[in-house]
Symmetry: C3
Subunit: 391 residues, 3 copies
């Protein structure tokens, strides 16, 4: 029932082919003197993603509608996309845009949209059961640190950690492009989704904002320790949806699936100044925040792994705990009152219909204390796992 070392990890991946794939070789804007005033080689964000190919000489006036900047954040390059539309454009700091001379420019985007494939990484870490925990991060935001790499780094770290312990659940880690990657995985694995018991979308985990959990579908119970938004009564109650908007929880929670998948972030998407700009770079995120985020997820997984549905083997009145050595510590000294109370709560609700998480919700006692109490009671033979028919 509890974490024990074991090693058994299976890594896979997938390339789903057939649809057109966008690729870019080079892109730049060159002034009459031959100087490249904007160059994709300098920053991924300089070109609107999915731009169609361009090779034209244009006046600044002609070029102007294709140039995107942020007047209120004049030193930042914005992140823009033109998915599925035959458009093109360049992104640059507003200060740089304003300094461009009223000249004629050579504009080149050497890009292709040709039959290709969609690539995502998938790691399956099998557990004792084929019930799954799904963890996912998006890989599609070019050069963004918090809103891309922080999720990937956390997910990779978690994968290594999970592989080191014995597991009840099977863990599925997805590294996939946002929206299209989730939809592609879901389309290819429709029948497998019925096995998903819990899921977390990881993003924006490297900044210093307080951790935030929000669920579009069913959610983690509060006793997992998940931090919640400012309106906890809306964000944390099972069955409530926060928003059909955000990251890939939108897809996992769409009709037909409606999986118990929530989002775990620090700063919320769209709500931090560097969001979708060149300022979302390595200086925005810090190892300490990543480590804290990862440890929080690890704690949540620990709760999910340790959860069980105990059955009191001596019902009809309280069993005598003292005689069974459960009420005292190894040295015979009485256990603290809060430990005794946790023991009594578990025994009282161990009717086979309450899980440890249910007991945590009901009693207000933290899950780890109840887990310790139940370990002690299992060891004394006072609890067994409830048969599944009892639930």
């Amino acid at each position: 029932m509890f974490y024990r070392p074991r090693r058994e990890v299976a890594s896979t991946g997938a390339r789903l082919g057939g649809a057109p794939e966008w690729n870019i070789r080079e892109a730049h804007i060159t002034d009459p003197s031959g100087r490249r005033v904007v160059d994709f080689a300098n920053h991924n964000l300089h070109v609107v993603s999915y731009s169609v190919p361009v090779r034209r000489r244009m006046t600044l006036g002609e070029l102007r509608p294709y140039l995107h900047s942020l007047p209120e954040q004049p030193d930042l390059i914005p992140y823009r996309t033109a998915y599925y539309t035959p458009a093109w454009g360049f992104c640059l700091p507003h200060s740089q845009l304003e300094a461009m001379a009223d000249d004629t420019y050579d504009v080149v985007i050497d890009a292709t949209l040709e039959p290709g494939s969609l690539t995502y990484g998938e790691v399956v870490i099998p557990g004792e059961s084929d019930e799954e925990v799904l963890l996912s991060a998006h890989v599609c935001h070019p050069s963004l640190a918090n809103d891309n790499c922080s999720g990937l780094a956390t997910l990779a770290w978690l994968g290594r950690l999970i592989g080191q312990y014995r597991r009840r659940y099977t863990y599925r880690l997805l590294f996939a492009p946002g929206t299209i990657g989730a939809i592609a995985w879901l389309a290819a694995n429709r029948e497998r989704t019925a096995r998903v018991r819990h899921g977390l979308i990881l993003s924006n985990l490297g900044d210093g904002a307080p951790p935030l959990y929000s669920a579009a579908g069913a959610v983690m119970p509060t006793s997992t320790g998940l931090p919640t938004g400012s309106r906890p009564e809306r964000t944390c109650r099972p069955g409530r949806r926060l928003l059909p908007y955000g990251y890939d929880e939108r897809q996992y929670c769409s009709p037909g699936f409606d999986l118990p998948v929530g989002a775990f972030q620090r700063s919320r998407w769209g709500e931090f100044a560097a969001y979708h700009t060149s300022a979302d770079n390595m200086s925005l995120i810090a190892p300490a925040h990543l480590a804290h985020s990862a440890s929080l997820v690890a704690k949540i997984l620990d709760v999910l792994e340790a959860n069980c549905r105990p059955l009191n083997t001596l019902p009809y009145g309280e069993p005598q705990l003292g005689r069974r050595g459960v009420y005292d510590d190894a040295g015979g000294r009485p256990l603290p009152q809060d430990v005794r109370l946790a023991l009594l709560w578990v025994l009282n609700l161990a009717d086979g219909r309450h899980s440890l998480i249910d007991i945590a919700e009901r009693s207000g006692i933290a899950f780890p204390a109840l887990r310790d109490a139940s370990k002690r009671l299992y060891a004394a033979g006072l609890l067994v796992d409830a048969p599944s028919g009892l639930q």
Copy 2:
């Protein structure tokens, strides 16, 4: 699904006979000089309704117990009834009562209680379905403006309005005496009540108080825009009863029926100074208030008509809205974020188990915005009406 002009109205009425009916020809109190100091010809309220016939000469001392006034509102005539009891009386301003000389008076009430009938007006405006919306106003308070005519005027206006549009629901408008009229209609239409899906009792709609909705049985959801009392958590939640007291919602919500009928008022019965007095006259009510009340009811009916239970035709991940022209306006400009959010909410909950009103309750988005979003999605083929078996 939405209002479209069409004309198809059926008006009916009924006279239920057999029981005794009270009628009055004249009533007055005459002083020794032959002056009629109180005369029913001057004001309907001067005689206690349902008074038995009287023709006596009485001293002021003998007459005094039969005279009703309001010492704290000395210039107003109170409204009194003696239903089903063999009593009689006169109502007059307290100032007038105090000015009566200690003389002998001729007292006449020329009334009859003989086999007759109860009359009510009923307008049925058929819709595509035989499911009904019941709207009712009482006709029995003599000469009262707010607590009688305001409901009748609003109901008549609504009847004309409803008749001008294509309707899903069948509308039944009742103009009937309070209590006995509702009971008579219910007794004559017991099997028909099973078709009533929504109902509103209309009264006190001409004064300037804020609109108030209260439900004795099941109620309208808050997203219909219905204003609620000071304790909205009590007045608006489905299944809560506010009071088995008030107007005819008492009858429609009695055991055996328990119809989803609430009351819509501005000032609440019994809580305004002019209530049940001669001050409840035309000077108390104003066309602007009547118009506002009627438009509020019209908006509610609009919500009820436009409500639907949509089914997402492309579940299993979000459909690409851009390609289907749903995410942009007619000119190709992106729709505002709140409109997009409404689209996503409707798609996400369009699983055939949620109505648009349910989606409004869940998302906190106003019904009209969701209705516009669903129109757009129906037009793009992304929604269809859910088959009834799905609910």
Copy 3:
């Protein structure tokens, strides 16, 4: 349905034998001069309950670990037990302990643990139904006034009271040792527990603290008038458990039983200064508090007895109350508005699915007012008891 005098009481008791029983004849600590510095004959609390026999000469240093006192309440003797462990000890005021000379003492505990029996008192007061109300108080705390005798006194008084009235429920009064007594009774009466509809554990009822009701399992509805703890939303809602800790509600609410039994106290166990010390004596409790506690329980029982599930015999609209004399008092004067409102609430919810307690919860009207209204309606033939199939 309502209390009427009748006499029919059956008193029983039980001695369950077989297990070892602890008995004590004498216990003392004698100094070299022959003076008994601690003597069980002076106070029951001087010996740790369940102490094994001792007869030794010991230095103060050797004896010290066996002496228990309360340094922060230096004048009080603590109450200590050593159930089911082969330990022994003496309890004494800390001031007395500090005054003991560094001498050699003769220590004697003349106790036995031999096959014996457990004794409890049980009074069954039969009612018209074999559904039971269980009332219990513990008898095991030696010499404690509030935390032992106050419950016994209240329970005895209630037994006499209950016997004087006609009853619907059968009442079972238990005077039993805490924990082991409840478990023994439950073990001997397992099949009988299915008849328990309500239960109260009585303790700490003689002090001046405000009455407190807390439930470990299902609970009394608030309309019984039961005072509740500082978090009424936790203590009073049906189905909530407050704590699997406290008095014998722990046993009655353990898995396998989970009876609707709560605890009724004034000061809560463990939370008053005199708790489990010699200060919990007759000076702590007062007749007025005992009387108040008993009268509160009597009121609760009155509610339980008077509760019924009425059925409106004239549904489908309000019956005419005036004609049936229900709307006026005996002298023909109209009943006050709040009485009329109670009548209408009862009639409106008398659909056979709501008990009077349910109606009290829903309407916010006090139970006694609803009981009076329902009496009036039963008398007029407007209510009958609902057949059990309707519930």
